[in-house]
Amino acid sequence: PPPQLEAEMEEYGAGDLLSEAMCAGARVVVVEDCVEAPAAFVLHLLLKRALAAGGGGGGGAALLALAQPFSHYDRVLRKMGCNLSMHRKSERLHFFDLQGFPGGTQGGAIADSLAQLYSAVQRVVETCRAGENAGRFTVMIDDVSLLEVAANGSADDVLDFLHYCVTLTSEMNCSLVVLIHEDIYSSEDGVGLLAHLRYIADLVIKAAPLSTGLATDVHGQLSVVNKGMLIEQRPAKGQKVWSFHFKVKENGADFFYPGSRH
């Protein structure tokens, strides 16, 4: 890979299968999981990498958290060697506590609340870009299924909001990472958020349980589909689909091909 890409890959923790599959240029990342194989650990890992991006430019991140309070992420990331409190203070990390979203005081349509949320996110991204941090900014949503619930089931409003977040990726050198629970959506209920997100995504990371059942050393399998829409997203070997196993640890996660663990 070209030197600049290699440097970026190192910042993002190159050397593991996940970063190899993702490449540095992926803009819209959709992480799918289910009850048997939760993928919050992927978000934690990507958040850590987004904040760790060094090289002078520095990265930044905005975490839109509906699933957990700040203390949870702080505790988890601390075990992974990343101090969220410090990043929050230094405004590297912008934490949006959305557990009460949209909130009773808002009134009006959910679309307005989402528009206001988007406005806040855009402001944060613009501020970061204007500052010394010219590096890649990451907007992370944990998670879209809860956002849909907060929007009273209005997938269209959520999709509108997500579309605007996607425009940030093309206009402001920004990545969007969203988590969605794949097992909530069944095809009998008609087309839902999941199908739309799969089209929007440049990269899909899907966590699934092992077909053989539970195991102590392997927690599940991860499939990464890199659609490679833009040339800088193309993996060197032209491969588009990766499939490997993972094990979640206190300080991160291990990724390995089946059978290569002793």
Binding site: A115, Y164, Q221, K227, K240
Partner: protein, 327 residues
């Protein structure tokens, strides 16, 4: 000219694609207009700017001011229709200028407006005298079948990209087995359904292959044969022909093809199936011309000499000879 109604990707992506495919920037600025429904479809960004008392920066990219026009009210289908037509009318040219409209994508449009209003928009554009063609993209799995069908009915040609390898449900039942996806991301089946003016439908099948930025089409005649055979209903008697039956049929001489006088049957293109043609080394175009000459000089007796073009054209086929007419 071409008007691109862009919902799903930023305008620069389309310009980039066209540049990559050899269109130079002069041609682009002359012949391409993009209606940008991607950057601010609902006007949220404009609202933010006015709240912050900022000046409207207009189009996001200043170098493409004329080529890209931003559109902020995608729920207003009438306004959208007018904007498309206005952009198209802006193409310069001598005499009457025609333009085409490309919509990426109808699926995104359907999130903001009803099926009726969008089919109304398409009908409206279709009947506009300056619009030569309209083409749009639709993700069929994002809509109920009836809506996909409704848009197919509106069109004269439907091109479907279908996966080569079909798994039950996106790997749901065989969790983790994504190997088929690798194949499906670079190859696909391409099926075109063409509706003729006389109502007949023509099918074309090809294989599509994506390599980097290039898309290659490989005609798959073998595929079409399989499909044709599978169209026969599954019944308990045999509806197909064996090889011997096929060759026997080819050997049948039809009533209007001979005069019953024992004259040898002349076929324009020497056919292998007829023993005479096979044994007759003299059956050439020259020989045929001689015969035609002889016919002209003979006394007009009101005979019909039928010369068949080729083996493939089965008599009484439902090919309408008027198909070639472009009325």
């Amino acid at each position: 000219g071409l008007v691109v109604v862009a919902f799903d990707r930023s305008p620069e992506v389309y310009l980039d694609i066209m540049l990559r495919h050899g269109l130079d920037s002069n041609a682009l600025s002359r012949c391409v207009r993009i209606l940008d429904c991607y950057s601010d479809p609902l006007g949220w960004k404009q609202n933010i700017r006015s709240e912050q008392h900022q000046e409207d920066s207009g189009t996001p990219c200043s170098t493409n001011k004329d080529t890209i026009t931003i559109f902020r009210s995608v729920k207003d289908v009438d306004k959208l229709s007018c904007s498309i037509i206005d952009l198209g009318r802006g193409f310069e040219g001598e005499g009457k200028t025609y333009f085409s409209v490309a919509v990426d994508s109808i699926s995104s449009m359907l999130r903001h407006a009803s099926v009726q209003s969008i089919s109304g928009l398409l009908s409206n554009l279709r009947s506009h005298d300056q619009i030569s063609s309209i083409f749009w993209l639709m993700h069929s799995d994002l809509h109920e079948t009836k809506f996909s069908r409704a848009f197919e009915c509106l069109s004269t040609m439907v091109a479907c990209v279908e996966p080569e390898v079909v798994d039950s449900v996106y790997g749901e039942e065989r969790r983790g087995d994504m190997s088929f996806l690798e194949h499906n991301y670079s190859k696909a089946k391409f099926h075109v359904r063409l509706k003729r003016r006389n109502g007949r439908v023509k099918h074309l099948y090809e294989e599509l292959c994506v390599e980097g930025y290039d898309v290659k089409f490989i005609s798959a005649t073998s595929v079409s044969i399989e499909v044709n055979q599978s169209l026969l209903p599954k019944v308990q008697f045999n509806l197909e022909l064996s090889e011997k039956e096929r060759s026997d049929r080819a050997n049948v001489v039809l009533p209007f093809e001979h005069q019953g006088k024992g004259e040898p049957i002349r076929i324009y293109d020497g056919r292998r199936s007829l023993p005479e043609a096979h044994q007759d080394p003299n059956l050439t175009t020259a020989a045929l011309l001689d015969e035609t000459e002889a016919l002209k000089s003979a006394n007009p007796k009101g005979e019909i000499h039928y010369l068949r073009d080729s083996d493939d054209e089965r008599p009484d086929s439902d090919e309408d000879p008027d198909d070639d007419l472009d009325i």
